[in-house]
């Protein structure tokens, strides 16, 4: 039972982390109609920045904050230099152009930080476990990830639904020409939105950094997951991204933890041992295929424009 609670929390934590990535993707998708494969690169850059700044300043929190702003700046620079020229183009062009950016960023990171990975050590006050329920211990760091991401989700909700900027973002999503004609600086708005997405990706990367090693290509696997989530949730819908992200996080974590045992109960040991790893990594993709077949526009489609 303890294991189950722990795995559930892990699933929630992973799901919320994925939400950070998916939220940025879905914002950029929904508002600029841009397929951004390079989103994973921003995640990677966030992690590298955090590891570097934390080593410089000697403080984890300060490093994280600096990394967040640095990723925001990199994102805005990428938007101004490259992405801006891709708006209104074919999706194929987006896929190809941003695929080129992935190659560029991977090499750039290799050039600057070298081919071997980095690690980001946790400060002692985070590297502890806390008692969340009587008799159940849980990692303080993972718990703080859950808290931070929930706060970010709430912030995003307020930003998009309750502020003037959010109103412009939503207006820009439904009709960009009209918003531009009404005198809003749509270019600046897009740069800001892209920067926001980049910062969210960077935040996900720097929070994941102490759990995994910081390495080249770390963004590519998780990018596909984030895409799966945006598609399941419905492109452009932040609410959909949140629901789908938590669902995928649970499915992935619990699948990996308990699926092999489940198979062992039904089949022989050998069958379970060979099939379980493949099947548990497949579960998410299977979920996505089923969702798309049943609801080709995703669960929470933002509606036809």
């Amino acid at each position: 039972m303890t294991l189950f609670i722990e795995q559930c929390l892990n699933g929630l934590q992973f799901g919320l982390l994925l939400f950070l990535l998916a939220a940025g993707l879905t914002l950029v998708f929904g508002i600029m109609d841009l397929v951004n494969l390079a989103h994973g690169s921003l995640y990677m850059i966030g992690a590298y920045f955090a590891a570097t700044f934390a080593a410089w300043t000697g403080s984890f929190v300060l490093g994280a904050v600096l990394a967040l702003f640095a990723t925001l700046l990199v994102g805005m620079a990428v938007e101004v230099i490259a992405m801006r020229r891709l708006y209104g183009r074919d999706h194929l062009d987006h896929v190809l152009g941003t695929f080129g950016l992935i190659l560029f960023f991977d090499e750039l990171v290799r050039l600057i930080w070298g081919p071997e990975g980095m690690s980001l050590p946790l400060p002692s006050w985070l590297n502890a476990s806390v008692q969340i329920l009587p008799g159940v211990q849980y990692s303080a760091y993972r718990l703080s990830i859950i808290i931070v991401t929930l706060a970010v989700a709430a912030f995003l909700y307020v930003l998009v639904m309750r502020t003037r900027i959010g109103m412009l973002i939503r207006a820009g999503a439904s009709n960009r020409e009209m918003v531009g004609a009404l005198g809003v600086n749509i270019k600046l708005l897009y740069t800001l939105v892209f920067g926001l997405g980049a910062a969210l990706a960077g935040l996900a990367g720097l929070m994941q950094a102490p759990i995994l090693t910081v390495q080249i290509g770390m963004g590519e696997n998780i990018l596909i997951l984030a895409f799966v989530i945006t598609v399941i949730g419905g492109i452009g819908s932040i609410r959909g991204a949140l629901v789908a992200a938590i669902f995928v996080g649970f499915l992935d974590t619990l699948g990996r933890a308990f699926f092999p045992d489940l198979l062992r109960m039904m089949f022989t040991k050998e069958v379970a041992a060979t099939a379980a790893p493949a099947l548990s990594s497949m579960l998410i993709y299977l979920l996505m295929a089923i969702v798309l077949v049943v609801k080709p526009e995703g669960l929470f489609s933002a509606g036809q424009k």
């Binding site: 998708f29 397929v35 490259a82 020229r85 891709l86 183009r89 999706h91 194929l92 062009d93 896929v95 190809l96 152009g97 695929f99 080129g100 950016l101 992935i102 190659l103 560029f104 960023f105 991977d106 090499e107 750039l108 290799r110 050039l111 590519e220 596909i224 895409f227 799966v228 598609v231 492109i235 041992a273 060979t274 099939a275 790893p277 493949a278 099947l279 990594s281 497949m282 993709y285 299977l286 996505m288 295929a289 798309l292 077949v293 080709p296 526009e297 995703g298």
Partner: protein, 330 residues
């Protein structure tokens, strides 16, 4: 028609002649690597050509095309592992397995459109990747070495490198011809009509879903053939063959060469792979007078040039290399 002697046709003819004469040149120059490289290029060009059928002519943006490469390759690899060595079984199985996979994922994916289609084909390819990576009997993540290439009757010997090259080249030209005939047939016209406007094609009575599905299966089958060839070429198959970045490479080849042009994918494959081989040398050669030692070190990081270059092609050369050549007045 401005006659046959346009810059584009001359370039294509020169490329085809060069490909035909390549083994002779490699023999004369004593450069074995050249033949290996170009066998690989021809095989990947075959895969890109099949992708062009759905991507260029059909407007179906599949981001999971490498899956067939892996399925075709693994069909050969697994059968070889089980000591079924004859190519008369291996290759039909490779084609049938790819066709079946294309039929299933096509039937499901073609219900969606646009970005969703890109993503669902990607998801299916990733599923295939994880299934194959999980096959412990066939090497799992580490891949599977093929000790004997596919066996055919007497004069055909795939272990002979020159002969294997010509077999690959013949299959490539055959497929290009097949696809060219196909897209200019009634079927191809319907497919191209669907690319322009699915709704209108349906309104005038074509069951577009079925047409697209058949097109999708044909492309998958041809790519499965490329997979079987690739397995024989490298004597090794691994899950990396169908990782999603490989699908990205195939799309790059098609777009770089020129979409919806019969020879575009071939040109793209040659350009991309030769460029990949040449770029480190080029950086070294051009950079050394300017930057000295730094250029030699920089040559290692050639992808840093390739990435932005791709972006530039997307931004400024929409028709790819074929499009650029067509603009040149002879």
């Amino acid at each position: 028609m401005t006659g046959w002697f346009t810059a584009r046709n001359i370039a294509i003819a020169a490329l085809l002649a060069a490909l035909l004469l390549l083994p002779v040149f490699a023999e004369l120059a004593g450069n074995r690597f050249l033949l290996t490289l170009f066998t690989r290029i021809v095989i990947l060009a075959l895969a890109a050509t099949s992708l062009n059928l759905i991507l260029g002519y059909g407007g179906m943006m599949s981001f999971g095309h490498a899956a067939y490469l892996g399925i075709g390759g693994y069909a050969v690899g697994m059968l070889a592992h089980e000591e079924v060595l004859t190519g008369f079984v291996q290759w039909p199985v490779a084609l049938a397995a790819s066709a079946l996979f294309a039929l299933i994922i096509g039937a499901l994916s073609l219900r969606t459109r646009g970005v969703y289609f890109i993503m669902i084909t990607l998801a299916f390819a990733q599923m295939a990747y994880y299934i194959i990576a999980g096959l412990a009997r066939y090497g799992g993540d580490d891949g599977l070495t093929i000790y004997k290439r596919s066996q055919f009757v007497a004069p055909i010997d795939l272990s002979n490198k020159v002969q294997f090259y010509y077999i690959c080249l013949a299959l490539l030209f055959g497929s290009i011809y097949l696809i060219w005939r196909l897209v200019n047939s009634r079927f191809g016209m319907v497919i191209q009509g669907v690319r322009s406007n699915d709704l209108r094609m349906r309104a005038i009575g074509f069951p577009t879903y079925r047409y697209k599905l058949v097109c999708f299966v044909i492309a998958g089958t041809i790519c499965g053939l490329a997979g079987a060839l690739l397995a024989n070429h490298t004597d090794f198959v691994s899950p990396a063959m169908l990782y999603w970045t490989r699908s990205g490479d195939l799309i790059i080849m098609v777009v770089l060469g020129g979409m919806s042009s019969p020879f575009g994918p071939l040109i793209g494959a040659v350009a991309l792979l030769v460029f990949e081989e040449m770029l480190p040398f080029m950086i070294k050669l051009l950079g050394t007078p300017l930057f000295g030692e730094a250029a030699v070190r920089g040559a290692e990081y050639w992808q840093i040039v390739l990435g932005p270059l791709l972006l530039l092609v997307v931004l400024f050369a929409r028709g790819g290399i074929v499009g650029l050549l067509s603009k040149v007045r002879s």
